[in-house]
Subunit: 272 residues, 2 copies
Amino acid sequence: MNKFSRNQRITAITKTLIENPNKVINLNTFTNMFNAAKSTISEDVVIIRETLDKLSMGSIETISGAAGGIKYKYGISDEKVEEFAKNLCIILQDKQRIVPGEFLYISDIMFNPEIISTAAVILASQFKDLEVDYVVTVETKGIPLAYEVAKKLGVKLVIVRRDNKVTEGPTVSINYVSGSTKRIQTMSLSKRSICKESKCIFIDDFMKAGGTALGIINLLKEFESELIGIGVLIDDINTSKKLVNNYVSIIKFGGIDENNNPIVYPEKIRKK
Amino acid sequence: MNKFSRNQRITAITKTLIENPNKVINLNTFTNMFNAAKSTISEDVVIIRETLDKLSMGSIETISGAAGGIKYKYGISDEKVEEFAKNLCIILQDKQRIVPGEFLYISDIMFNPEIISTAAVILASQFKDLEVDYVVTVETKGIPLAYEVAKKLGVKLVIVRRDNKVTEGPTVSINYVSGSTKRIQTMSLSKRSICKESKCIFIDDFMKAGGTALGIINLLKEFESELIGIGVLIDDINTSKKLVNNYVSIIKFGGIDENNNPIVYPEKIRKK
């Protein structure tokens, strides 16, 4: 069996933890991988933990007991959150982004892995102390962000569809009223996608009045499940009355100014 | 300024590389982060590279010149690919997955970050030596997989829509014929989502006859762009005539057997 130096073990342990956020990894995984004693691995973990802590790159928790081990939780410093939100505002302020109807073109942002993975760290760290079973989103634009949040929380993603698909098996559909356009819309979800009595958070790209979020709350009731958190990348503050109260966002959108520029500014997210 | 030990530097460098696959990272990033000499960082990188290599966890390339630096490329061992495909087949063989019309319910798999991130490593490593500009997919089920492949290749994701959305600005739409159902369908893409003369790969969850892939080839022609690769998680081998030739898949689906069980087996992916 190959022997590994401390430096080598630290490389492999760090990689494994970063790629499996919020999952309990038993130390035996590493004692087997490196043919090393548990005490040796524990010392490696102490070094990794201290470094991540020092650089505000997340934290490592120790879970004791038979099913115990270590668990990496994503984290990000206040400065990094602020820097990210400021840079994103500069990208969003481009008047080329305005499409007829005072909408902002944001697909390139929502589908850019570099932006979305940082946004997901910021949103996931808001919910990391909750016991979340699923991250829920509605197709289509919010899917990459919701996927990344689910991954960083170590849970599964559930995608609510706009219509019934033959490949979904039996589904539950509900109608809801869009808060901004007042139009009746339908959302549907495969019956087998969520276990009863689950706790979910809803992640989306953009919130206007919150009609979709309210729809999700009602849809989850059909699954005897509960929505315990809402996170969006951009919150439209021009909508006078929001249909939901507790939600977090990263950017505020205030419409278009007299010079035809989008009004955007960073939301100050309270660190948890 | 804080001093960092080699162990600490290795922790932070590993994390940064893993989170930014296929992106050139200048060594100055690390000399600044740790207040260390370039030669010191180079020695750290040698240790990380050797470890990743030894454990088949990917590779680190050095890019010389003014814009140079180091670049992490995802990699996975043949044994891990085989193990992953075998385990996925066991999950897929469950007869509960069959929905009317001989379809397989796979949404839970396509939306499971643990499964999708490994599948994406396998697919991304097939295309890692191509110069890819975008990963393209069609909504909805393939989005998380396509997003992960894009992230691992360090490029942007493009999502083709089934209909026009008001938030997309001007779009280009084409009609295409589904290869299996022979129905005419529409796909549309925002004009601003792809630069001219781009090279793209198409990632999807499931391939029947390949009508969608053919549609993507034609849609990309409207953007004066080219499809240079196709990767799917599951390939339906019951479709006698495929409309596209070169594609990679991880699992083969051969329909339902006489005992009402799905026929699935691993595709042997040629390692690049």
